[in-house]
């Protein structure tokens, strides 16, 4: 099934409480190489049929208007999933 990947991250200027908690827990498991963590979201939108430019545009609109909240988050990317082809 063709898929579109949407990635959303908390805005850089907003402290990400979940990422901060993960960062402080990593050293407890011996992972001491990482000075920071930010946690975001990845959405996989499945399409029945071919991905057209129109469908991609629709995914961009959904990403901006529903999958992210522009007050606290940025849409990092909206792209066709090519991992299956690889």
């Amino acid at each position: 099934m063709p898929r579109i990947i949407v990635e959303v991250m908390p805005k850089p200027e907003i402290l990400d409480p979940q990422g901060k908690a993960i960062a402080s827990a990593l050293p407890h498991l011996g992972f001491t190489d990482f000075s920071g963590v930010r946690q975001g979201k990845r959405f996989e939108l499945t399409i029945d049929g071919e991905i057209t430019e129109q469908i991609l545009a629709s995914a961009r609109t959904a990403a901006a208007e529903m999958l992210s909240n522009p007050v606290i988050e940025d849409v990092i990317s909206v792209r066709v999933d090519d991992e299956d082809a690889a």
Binding site: I14, L15, P17, Q18, A21, M66, L67, N69, V71, I72
Partner: protein
């Protein structure tokens, strides 16, 4: 209340012979809503008539005001309030609250209801996880800083009230320009007193829109409306009923046509 108090959760009991009982206030239930019955009860104790509304319906049933109650609509999936925002009932509420002519519908969002209002862009800013990451449940003192809204008209300026606070995503955020405008325009309605419980910017607990008919707050006034079930106060254990003034305010505002 001089007459027998109705059972908790009884939506349909009519308020006891109250001249303001004609005020009909809708309480919207979404999948995952928790506090709709408490909100309905608070409306009745305040002297109004609670009208149950279902998220998937499209009729506001001619209510005079709306309460969006707390809970975890849609399990907080995506973001708290984000999916509820797209319910058919929310579209009707948004249109009625922002009407360009006539009376704009008074809307109160409590906790998850506040989150729905920010997701709907009826109120500015957004909520993220508490800065300490824990679910917090305690009695919380607030300062009422704006008494010009229909929901706060019976408070005195800078009145201190105590109501329960219970949430995980309670940290109020907005960009610096928005915060500056909220402060300059007096649109911070409730502010946390004492230690900031969740990292909210400027200690903001509740805000209103430019036309003052929409108010959202994270703490729960509907859980502080009846002696015996509220926060502790000077008169005794669990005797606090400070939240009731929110509901008597809107009913009085509606009766007086003070919009």
């Amino acid at each position: 209340m001089s007459t027998e108090t109705p059972l908790i959760g009884d939506f349909h009991a009519s308020p006891a012979a109250n001249p303001l009982g004609g005020a009909r206030i809708g309480v919207v239930t979404f999948p995952g809503t928790l506090d709709d019955r408490d909100a309905a009860r608070a409306i009745r104790l305040g002297g109004g008539t609670a009208v149950p509304l279902w998220h998937a319906d499209e009729s506001l049933q001619n209510v005079d005001a709306i309460v969006l109650p707390g809970g975890f609509s849609y399990g907080d999936y995506l973001r708290a309030g984000a999916i509820a925002r797209f319910a058919p009932m929310m579209n009707k509420i948004i249109a009625a609250a922002t009407a360009s002519s006539g009376t704009r519908l008074p809307v109160l969002g409590i906790c998850n209801g506040f989150q729905m209002l920010t997701e709907s862009h009826l109120l500015p800013g957004s909520m993220v996880k508490n800065d300490h990451l824990k679910f917090l449940c305690r009695d919380q003192v607030l300062r009422v800083e704006n008494t010009s809204t229909p929901w706060t008209s019976q408070f005195t300026d800078d009145e201190l009230i105590a109501v329960p606070l219970k949430n995980q995503d309670g940290q109020y955020l907005a960009d610096p320009a928005t915060l500056e405008a909220l402060e300059a325009e007096g649109r911070v309605v409730f502010r946390y007193v004492g230690e900031n419980p969740n990292g909210s910017r400027n200690g903001i607990a509740g805000v209103t829109n430019e036309t003052h008919n929409v108010v959202g707050l994270m703490p729960h006034p509907e859980h502080a409306v009846e002696a015996g079930y509220g926060p502790d106060d000077a008169t005794g254990m669990r005797s606090g009923t400070d939240g009731l003034t929110i509901f008597t305010s809107v009913i009085a505002s509606l009766a007086g046509g003070a919009q």
